[in-house]
């Protein structure tokens, strides 16, 4: 046998194989999953929607790069998370949002929703919702869908429900709601597109189905109870499922990794809580669409839910 050449072998602890996913891969998958809804938004709202989405993504990336520079840290912009945050934030805005609102909200999402907690994974909140909440509280009139979208034929069903009651809601046709013929967050109301993208993520195992199932079940059951109680005041569950950001929140926002629990039972409870809170805010709260605040509240409860944990293997 001839002598073996000296080789520099890699020596490492197992595993020696990886399932192949990466942060960047997952973020690209999420962006792909958002494309159908984005395309439907451009189709419905025209170039305005494209403007808002592009602006939000651009500002998000620049803000993250700037924060990295200020914090003297190697930049992680390459993992595409900032694009996801920017686009998610844009999905919640009215298409008429002025440039400064989109830019400020997107920058706030990244700076206050993500970067001040350290690198990706540190934030206890779903980042785009932080920016949305700041804008909604600071500039209610600019964020108000009905007031800013008077030029469109479409109406905002949740706004009409909140302000004038169930009888005033003009769009009740399930099919037109499903295909996004309504006002709301520019991408979030493209229910068909959001659902298609969300199913893609669940089937490809990029997100677990537990949180969306819990969320939608929470919305359905709570809305159904109210509807049973008084069908003339409270709309049926299907109306709630197909309006506002319920679908988008359940599939894209509540499933955000760091701000949601990791185990099955806490995930289910987290989803249920966000779903129930959504309907409670819609019925009793001051805001027409309860989803963003419901998810932020559920985010706060994540550490509490995480305390529900099984006994480790064989531990006594």
């Amino acid at each position: 046998m001839k002598p073996l050449n000296p080789l520099a072998l890699t020596v490492s602890v197992p595993p020696h194989q990886h399932c192949g996913t990466s942060i960047q891969g997952r973020m690209i998958a999420i962006l792909l999953a958002m494309i159908p809804a984005a395309a439907m938004a451009v189709n419905t709202f025209g170039v305005d929607a494209l403007r808002v989405m592009a602006l939000c993504m651009g500002v998000a990336v620049l803000t993250e790069a700037a924060c990295d520079r200020i914090m003297e840290r190697a930049s992680d912009v390459g993992n595409m998370h900032a694009f996801v945050v920017g686009l998610s934030f844009a999905f919640l805005l009215p298409p008429s949002a002025p440039w400064w609102l989109a830019a400020f909200g997107s920058a706030a999402s990244i700076a206050i929703g993500k970067m001040i907690f350290g690198p990706l994974g540190g934030s206890p909140f779903c980042a785009p919702l932080v920016g949305w909440a700041i804008c909604r509280v600071s500039w209610p009139s600019a964020m108000d869908l009905d007031a800013t979208m008077l030029t469109m034929d479409l109406t905002y069903p949740l706004g009409q429900l909140k302000a004038f009651g169930l009888n005033a809601v003009q769009i009740t046709n399930t099919k037109s709601l499903f295909f996004g013929h309504q006002l709301g967050g520019l991408g979030a109301v493209q229910i068909a597109g959001v659902l298609a993208g969300g199913l893609f993520l669940v089937v490809r195992k990029h997100v677990s189905s537990i949180i969306p199932v819990g969320f939608l079940a929470g919305v359905t059951v709570t809305a159904w109870l109210f509807h049973m109680f008084d069908p003339t005041t409270y709309p049926p569950a299907m109306f709630h499922l197909l309006t506002g950001s319920v679908m988008f929140g359940a599939l894209f926002l509540a499933t955000d990794g760091p701000s949601s629990p990791n185990r099955q039972i806490p995930m289910l409870l987290f989803g249920l809580m966000a779903g129930i809170m959504t309907i409670i805010i819609r019925v009793y709260g001051a805001y027409p669409d309860g989803v963003p605040f419901a998810i932020l509240v559920a985010n706060l409860f994540t550490p509490a839910f995480e305390r529900i944990r099984p006994r480790p293997f064989g531990a006594r």
Binding site: M1, P14, Q17, S22, P258, N262, G314
Partner: protein, 366 residues
Amino acid sequence: MNNLMKNSPPQVELALVRHCALVTCGQQVRCGETLATSNSPERGDIHAPFPGKVLHVDSYRIRLSREKGETVPLASLDGLSGPEIRSRLAELGADLAPAGEVDALIINAVDAEPSVCSRKQLLADHAETLRAGIKALVRAYCPGSVVLALRQDSPNTLDELEISYVGGHYPAGLDPMVAKAVTGVEASPYAVVVGLETVHHTGMIVETGLPVSRTMVTLGDTGRLVSLGTPVGALVEEQGETVRDGDRIVLGGVLQGMTAASPGQGVDRSTTAVTVVKNPAPVAEDTACVGCGECVRHCPARLDPAMITSYAEFGDYEKAAAEHVDVCFECGLCGYYCLAHRPMLQYIRLAKSELAKARSLEEVAS
């Protein structure tokens, strides 16, 4: 000639893992002579697989070259039972852990990892040796029952034994999971799991009266008996693979196996396979946890690897202990699924070893 070379390499390297070398450089040894004694109760001693001369000794390896020579006198296990036969078998190179009262002796015939088939091959080709090994193990452990854990689709079995079928999906074939599947109790102190290769080693000791000198190794898609200490580089070359800088030669499966430090490193008794993992191999990166939760949902021990590794990363080993890091049986799935490619098992092993160090210091102090 080729066949002869395959079965008996001219030179072997025997890895020492908490073993104490008894030989010195240049010493002539007989076939079967004890080269190093084990310092850990669950591991057996190390012996010369053929007569020869010791070329090199350090704390990690003994190298031996073949020369003509004698064989040690045959050992007899007659009249021994219980702990005596167990320690005698360990002196002859069987890796048998000591145990107290044993309710169930579980023979694990499941190849846990998908790319490994050494146990399947043993069951197909060496049933008689396995039976002899099981008889000796029954004498050593005096168990209430003997159960053979098999995959559902296993074509071979050992008829006289009670069979328990185990799922084929990793990590169902790992010892703790098999023990749970058979006894219904997690980490039962009354169950002993012995891997089929160790049963085979024991059987060979009983049949030949000599220490263990060969083991079943998966090469490609078949298993083959190779001499202990055979350089892994030679085995890889035989399969027609070329190893380049940066590749890994893995002893065992890709999820749990150990990487060889050099192509000269020898096959040891726990080696179930020799495979090459080519570049671009997944290299763990120094990244922070992104909180995706994949490791938590995949952990068969129901631990929170994300928290454990984050504690270990910052040196807070006591908190890792509070998260039950000791329960981890190192299946490797957390690192396999980690979105951020964190060195999960490295951190877990770091925490375990630091905790063990702290414990031994406490014991010395008290």
